[in-house]
């Protein structure tokens, strides 16, 4: 793949002139003709979908910034009255931007899970994987700061809770939170700097995406068999095969996106965020956006502040560590039945963690009593379910994955990635 030769031939005098000065047409042509494994399935379309999401967020965001007031006194009004009621199509643009964040995370989670299932983090794609992890962290930071901007109650208290996480560190903690707030608490200065950074970070993400694509184009795509490309029989040019496949997937995604924006625009919104920020009253039940719930549950599961924050950070760090933890040479879980089973259990526990994060810590799992108290909460409490799930979350990465990498008996892997494709299409003829 690395020796992918340029097939571009300048056709006109102008193209030849330009090609010897800035070979930008050659660069684009090579991207289009890039040899791509012929067996990529629809799970591989989320990269294109994510690029689409980033463009949508940047375009709608730039427009919203034209109508947004960054002051503590004016932010809430400029969103609730200005953008949602007075600005032409403001309701639509904000609906796309706010729900776009949820769609973006939906796509990125499926993209990450696909990478985990097919072993896309393994050699020679570790750097590609790490850049992706960095993008994911940047996305969370951007989404968090964007959520603060409407300056409702959830915005304010979400900002307060998350910034206070950093206060958990001994000695420097308070200095860091004061530095972030620009005051003694979350307030006007905090709102202004969050707006500034919320505008900046998407462009940082765009830069990281360029690196991500670059790092993808050095080893080339992984594929559902996990077998590396060996010959021209294994590949197809990116255009038209995958441009069309990606576009089709994007259209299906846009239909889902439109359903959310037009029919259930408030589905992901907490009613409390339609109340202006009040530093003296915390809403009765504060929860983060759905895409952060599993981490929130992990934070709450640990009864000690600093340990809770470290567990939260550790949960994300696990993704970065994955290439080290899984040394099995077989990439795709198609040929790793045991790894596949533990992986699916892990997904279930992530969903359970998400549910736990949305509930109150003392709530009960099975309706009825909380059951006998162990240490601090009843056995049937959300807190204990979150603890068990947290334990599995970390055990999956730190114990199960390294052990399986050494001991699992994998299924026979095809010699070349096109073989299962051909045998499948040949099957009906038999």
């Amino acid at each position: 793949m690395t020796e992918h030769k340029s097939t571009y031939e300048p056709k006109s005098g102008f193209e030849r002139w330009l090609d010897s000065r800035l070979p930008i047409v050659r660069f684009s042509a090579d991207l289009m003709s890039f040899p791509t494994p012929r067996n990529l399935n629809y799970w591989y379309t989320f990269g294109g979908i994510l690029a689409f999401c980033l463009v949508v967020q940047i375009v709608t965001g730039i427009v919203l910034a034209m109508h947004y007031d960054t002051s503590e006194a004016g932010a809430f009004i400029s969103v609730q009255r200005g953008i949602m009621r007075d600005v032409n199509y403001g309701w639509l643009i904000r609906g796309i931007h706010a729900n776009g964040a949820s769609m973006f995370f939906l796509a990125v989670y499926l993209h990450i899970l696909r990478g985990m299932y097919y072993g896309s983090y393994k050699a020679p794609r570790e750097v590609l994987w790490w850049i992706g992890c960095v993008i994911y962290v940047l996305m969370m930071a951007t989404a968090f700061m964007g959520y603060v901007l409407p300056w409702g109650q959830m915005s304010f208290w979400g900002a307060k809770v998350i910034t206070n996480l950093l206060g958990a560190f001994p000695v420097v903690g308070n200095a860091i939170t004061t530095l972030l707030w620009g005051g003694f608490s979350v307030g006007g200065p905090t709102l202004n700097r969050f707006f500034s950074l919320h505008y900046l970070l998407p462009f940082v993400i765009a830069g990281m995406v360029a690196l991500h694509v670059w790092a993808l184009h050095v080893p080339g795509n992984n594929n559902p068999t996990g077998v590396e490309v060996k010959s021209d029989h294994d590949t197809l040019p990116f255009h038209p095969y995958y441009t069309v496949k990606d576009l089709f997937a994007i259209m299906v995604f846009v239909i889902l996106f439109a359903v959310v924006v037009f029919f259930i625009p408030d589905a992901f919104e907490k009613v409390d965020n339609n109340v202006v920020a009040n530093a003296l009253v915390t809403p009765a039940h504060i929860v983060p956006e759905w895409y952060l719930l599993p981490f929130y549950a992990i934070l709450r599961a640990i009864p000690d502040k600093l340990s809770g924050v470290l567990a939260l950070a550790g949960a994300i760090a696990m993704l970065f560590a994955l290439p080290f933890l899984d040394q099995n040479k077989v990439k795709s879980m198609r040929y790793r039945p045991a790894a596949r089973m533990y992986f699916f259990i892990w997904i279930v526990f992530c969903l359970i963690l998400g549910w736990c994060g949305s509930q109150e810590p003392q709530g009960t799992v099975i309706p009825g009593g909380a059951g006998p108290v162990i240490i601090d909460y009843g056995i049937n409490s959300v807190t204990w379910l979150a603890r068990v799930s947290t334990a599995y979350y970390f055990a999956y990465f730190l114990i199960i994955t390294p052990l399986l990498a050494m001991s699992e008996k994998t299924l026979p892997v095809p010699d070349a990635l096109f073989m299962p494709v051909l045998s499948k299409s040949a099957a009906p003829a038999e």
């Binding site: 208290w157 004061t178 005051g183 307030g187 200065p189 530093a279 915390t282 502040k305």
Partner: protein, 209 residues
């Protein structure tokens, strides 16, 4: 680069395929030094010094520029200048509390009943994460007034009174439970609700800050 020439010089690598490495290198270095003439060891030393000195000045320059860019994030003078405030305690009937803002932070002023005080004192020696006696959390002679920061020491939410099993506050965010003295009794918060400076101007007037 040149700084290393005397020990494992980069020039030496080309000819160091076999033999005693150190010997080969030493001889090659002295040879090349002899050939280069002006590139003598003294000159190399001088260049190293210039290299390091330039680097040091550069680092100092970057740090000098970086600091204002970081420190501007800290509270501005007008934020720091928020003065102390006075509060009329007659507005808080026995057994109730108010939440007011001091330096933009929520503050509880609780008018405690004898019952609540007795309960707090009775627990003075119970096992606690952040042990403190009730007397140490109020001003002498004003045990009925508990004046504390209203931010949960876990992640800053404002706890709700009459929550939890200790008769005090419970935090709606992550389930920390405080007693009637604002001491942490259960949950993830590491500290008691914080005290801050205030003085009684009279029995019915208090100055915060």
């Amino acid at each position: 680069m040149r700084r290393e020439a005397s020990s494992t010089g980069p020039w030496a690598d080309s000819g160091a395929g076999s033999g005693t490495l150190s010997e080969v290198r030493t001889s090659e270095v002295s040879e090349s030094v002899a050939k280069a003439g002006a590139d003598g060891p003294d000159d190399a030393g001088r260049r190293d010094f210039l290299y390091l000195a330039t680097g040091a000045v550069g680092v100092a320059g970057v740090a000098a520029v970086a600091w204002p860019l970081i420190d501007q994030l800290n509270p501005a003078a007008d934020t720091l200048a928020l003065a102390s405030i006075e509060y009329d305690l007659t507005k808080v009937p026995l057994g109730s509390e108010v939440t007011i803002a001091w330096r933009k932070q929520p503050v509880f002023i609780r008018h405690r009943t004898p019952d609540e005080i007795a309960r707090a004192v009775a627990d003075d020696h119970a096992p606690m994460k952040d042990p403190a006696t009730d007397a140490s959390r109020v001003k002498p002679g004003h045990a009925e007034w508990l004046i504390i920061l209203a931010s949960c020491t876990h992640l800053g939410c404002v706890p709700t009174f009459k929550g939890g099993e200790y008769g005090g506050w419970a935090c709606p965010c992550h389930g920390s439970v405080y007693d009637t003295s604002g001491r942490i009794r259960k949950g993830p918060a590491p500290k008691n609700l914080y005290l801050f400076p205030y003085t009684f101007l009279s029995d019915t007037k208090v100055k915060l800050g």
